[in-house]
């Protein structure tokens, strides 16, 4: 807490002259150094992971903090052999989940936003209610259900909760988005003789690409991060997804820090790259809005 008060005062110091009108060029050294300090603390564990990932055990013991040459990139080869299957599993599960979630929620969201029919509010209300309940509360009964169905240790059992969770959020996001599309566009299409299917494929889908992208990204992050479900429904190592796989991997390689850290980094890289290219959609998804709405 002492650091935070220190940075607050430094923020005050550098901002105060600006309010008087002096120093418009704005070097703001206090503010910037405080921010850099926060960034450094945030990223230090990850930097340490990267630095350590190219060391042998001896190098790690001798020079704990700094980069030490030669760099042992073969750690990455060893880690890749073990982590790659988990990555492929995760990508497969995420891919299937995304396809199902997008089809189901784009159809349902479109219909719920654009048509009036009996039961519409009831269905939407039941979907909204599910947003209030975290999936963890369903863990035990859902597990027993999957066991009774004989689905443990299959890809299907992995996909199910992500689809069930994804369609809820997806339907809500698509419905809200489609409601925002001007009715005039749909009326014009209707006058030109477009069928319902045509309106879905030619108007609604192209216009809602941003929201569909957001839903896809959120599904990927959920699959990548979910821990307890794959932990409980899988005993077969060849089916494990990244988060559970990494924990297993940690147990296998605890004595060799280099490959261990390399494995962590490999497992993070796909998400970090996605984040780098699509951070706008990523943030929109996290904030529950649309890209550019904030």
């Amino acid at each position: 807490m002492t650091t935070s008060t220190a940075t607050l005062t430094s923020a005050k110091k550098s901002a105060a002259p600006a309010s008087v009108g002096r120093d418009r060029s704005g070097r703001q050294i206090g503010v910037k150094s405080a921010l850099i300090a926060l960034i450094a603390v945030s990223l230090l564990p990850y930097l340490l992971m990267i630095v350590t990932s190219v060391k042998t055990n001896e190098q790690f013991a001798q020079s704990f903090w700094s980069i030490d040459f030669p760099l042992h990139f073969e750690n990455y080869g060893r880690a890749w052999e073990q982590v790659a299957p988990y990555l492929w599993n995760t990508i497969l599960v995420a891919g299937v989940s995304i396809v199902v979630v997008l089809i189901v929620s784009s159809l349902a969201g479109f219909v719920l936003a654009r048509y009036r029919f009996r039961g519409r509010n009831l269905i939407y209300g039941l979907i909204l209610l599910l947003m209030m309940i975290p999936g963890i509360a369903n863990l035990i009964p859902l597990f027993v259900m999957m066991r009774d169905l004989g689905l443990l240790n299959t890809y299907i059992v992995l996909v199910i909760p992500y689809v069930a969770g994804g369609v809820v959020l997806g339907t809500i996001l698509v419905r809200n988005f489609v409601e925002g599309i001007p009715q005039a566009i749909f009326d014009a299409a209707r006058v030109d003789g477009a069928s319902d299917a045509r309106m879905y494929f030619s108007i609604m889908l192209p216009l809602s690409l941003p929201v569909l992208g957001t839903i896809a990204l959120m599904t990927v992050t959920t699959v990548w991060n979910d821990f307890f479900w794959p932990l409980l429904v899988l005993s077969d190592d060849s089916l494990r997804t990244v988060s559970v796989g990494l924990q297993f991997f940690q147990g296998q390689n605890a004595t060799e820090v280099g490959p261990l850290m390399a494995g962590y980094f490999i497992a993070s890289l796909p998400l970090v790259i996605l984040f780098g290219f699509l951070s706008k959609y990523f943030l929109a998804g996290v904030q529950g809005g649309m890209p550019g709405s904030h």
Partner: protein, 327 residues
């Protein structure tokens, strides 16, 4: 932190929707019988998925919580026995005490994202704002399990960063097995992810600070309001409406807290880091007491539902007041 990423995100929307729950009327088109059928057909997959994999398990869980549930063989109806067991379950209540600590800590920890957001909007250079914002939220891109495992590595008693650092500066007597001692394990877990900036609270603080109208800030500046004074007089009051949402998210986040504890301490040592989710999983998967686990699960479920209802209805009242007031 990974749990922060998903459904909570759109909850704000949901809260608003439920609180108002009036869908605007739009021109009604007469549909043919066939057209109506198509509408319902389009909803069948959604209703099936949600019904079978969300509503059915939730209700089944409630049902079986009144049984000595043996999924493989016969189950015996035992009334409220599981709930009575729960009230006497010391580990369960201890896990709620830990939950309270986790919740309180996560609220106090908002100081850091708030500070970062304030610093960020103080920056005048757009490029600096963009770069620092991106770097501050970069940890969100790392999988939660990687963050947890790296922190486990930092806490490692022999070669972990914390003990190495303490040795390097001559404070050997402060070194300890951070996650292995009952008195430090919970704190060690809570500090995973320090300084907690990469997350929803920061994003919400930042966007609400950005949305403060310029006129207000300019007027304040004319009146000679300094930066710190501005924080207390303008920023905080204008963020108050977001705080309700954040408190709700913090409660739900705390209720779901579990996987970091599982990875680093598995609830130990001596149940010092036990949380309700882990207790529920242990009862089911280690103890094989499925009926009792269902009762714990139902309890968690009802607590969340009750808290959600509180938030939705308090929101409705607040809105009524503000709508009928100044505007």
């Amino acid at each position: 932190m990974s749990t922060m990423l998903m459904p909570e995100a759109a909850r704000e929307d949901v809260i608003d929707e439920i609180a108002e729950h009036d869908t605007p009327l739009r021109p009604v088109r007469k549909k043919s019988r066939r057209g109506r059928l198509v509408i319902y057909l389009a909803l069948v997959p959604l209703v099936l998925i949600v019904g079978v994999f969300a509503y059915y398990p939730a209700l089944a869980g409630m049902f079986w919580s009144f049984f000595d549930w043996n999924p493989a063989s016969e189950s015996i109806f035992i009334g409220f026995q599981n709930y009575i067991t729960m009230f006497a379950d010391e580990i369960w209540w201890r896990s709620f005490r830990n939950l309270g600590i986790i919740f309180a800590f996560s609220i106090v920890a908002w100081v850091l994202p708030l500070l970062a957001a304030e610093l960020l909007i103080t920056l005048r250079s757009e490029r600096w704002q963009f770069v620092t914002r991106t770097l501050l939220i970069l940890p969100m891109a790392f999988p939660g399990v990687v963050t947890a495992l790296i922190w486990g590595f930092l806490y490692e008693p022999n070669q972990g960063v914390f003990n190495r650092f303490l040795e390097a500066v001559g404070l050997e007597n402060l070194t300890r097995n951070w996650t292995g001692m009952p008195d430090s394990a919970l704190m060690a877990l809570l500090f995973v992810g320090f300084p907690f900036i990469a997350g929803l609270p920061f994003l919400i603080f930042y966007s609400s600070l950005q949305n403060i109208p310029r006129e207000i800030l300019e007027a304040a500046q004319l009146d000679g309001v300094g930066r710190v004074q501005r924080f207390w007089r303008i920023d905080l009051p204008l963020m108050a409406s977001q705080v309700r949402l954040l408190v709700f998210l913090a409660v739900v986040g705390a209720l779901q807290y579990g996987f970091v504890a599982y990875v680093l301490t598995a609830g130990g040592p001596d149940n010092a880091t036990m949380v309700p989710v882990l207790r529920m999983i242990n009862v089911a998967f280690s103890g094989g007491d499925w009926g009792y686990a269902a009762a714990l699960s139902t309890t968690l479920f009802l607590i969340t539902l009750a808290l959600s209802a509180v938030v939705v209805f308090s929101g409705r009242r607040e809105r009524a007041v503000t709508d009928g007031g100044a505007m």
